[in-house]
């Protein structure tokens, strides 16, 4: 199973949609993509996890380091997640308190527009 990553621009917010499994084998791809997107723009980043079937601690580590990177830039990372399997991983690790997690890309983009710097 591969991890497929698609980036798009939504009203000045970058949306990175992930599809597939994020584990120790595929997390480096996600890390690389976040670094690339952050280098290109400090616009807030929405990471859409609705297409993700599996997320492990390696993937969480990549998301946390991405969040730190964006906050250093004065920006933010917001997540889209509603699948119980995915939310459970954030809940167990206490990361629901760290990330801003939204039920849809629209909601995340709206929240990003309200808080993040413009590109």
């Amino acid at each position: 199973m591969d991890l497929r990553l698609e980036t798009s621009d939504r009203d000045g917010t970058t949306v990175l949609a992930a599809h597939g499994e994020i584990d120790v084998a595929t997390a480096p791809q996600l890390r690389q993509r976040i670094v690339e997107v952050a280098s290109a723009s400090s616009a807030p980043l929405v990471i859409d996890l609705e297409g993700v079937d599996f997320l492990d601690s390696t993937g969480l580590g990549v998301l946390v380091s991405g969040l730190k990177r964006y906050r250093t830039l004065g920006s933010d990372v917001l997540l889209v997640a509603t699948r119980p399997r995915i939310l459970k991983v954030f809940e167990i690790t206490g990361l629901t308190r760290v990330f801003s997690i939204h039920p849809s890309v629209d909601a995340a983009v709206a929240a990003a527009a309200a808080t993040g710097p413009r590109p």
């Binding site: 584990d23 120790v24 084998a25 492990d56 991983v89 167990i92 690790t93």
Partner: protein
Amino acid sequence: MTGDQPPVDLEVPARPEYVRLVRLVVGALAASRCGLDEERVADLRLAVSEACTLAFDDAADGRLHVACTEVPGAFVVDVFDAPDEPESDGDGLAFALIRALVDEVACVHEDGSTRLRLRMSCAPGGT
């Protein structure tokens, strides 16, 4: 559960791309032999993945060794060469997940090896 199924030993290269194979096999075994429901199988798959990831650094001879055994009322997965405590921040997340997802976790020193032993109680009526 009949409890008379032979143990299954898996040995794969200790490389990231093989962890998925291990979790799929372990999940399929747990579902078919122990009757775990979908959510508990998913919990076990994630816990096994985490344990395998932890075992990479210490895996003997570059091989990852995982053993699945049925005991009365439970399905037990031994992941060899996993550390018995977190060695980094990332390990801390992995251990938190393992402890939350399986019914019991223990570090076992047996036959000169260190194993992280994950135990899932089987559903009543499981085959």
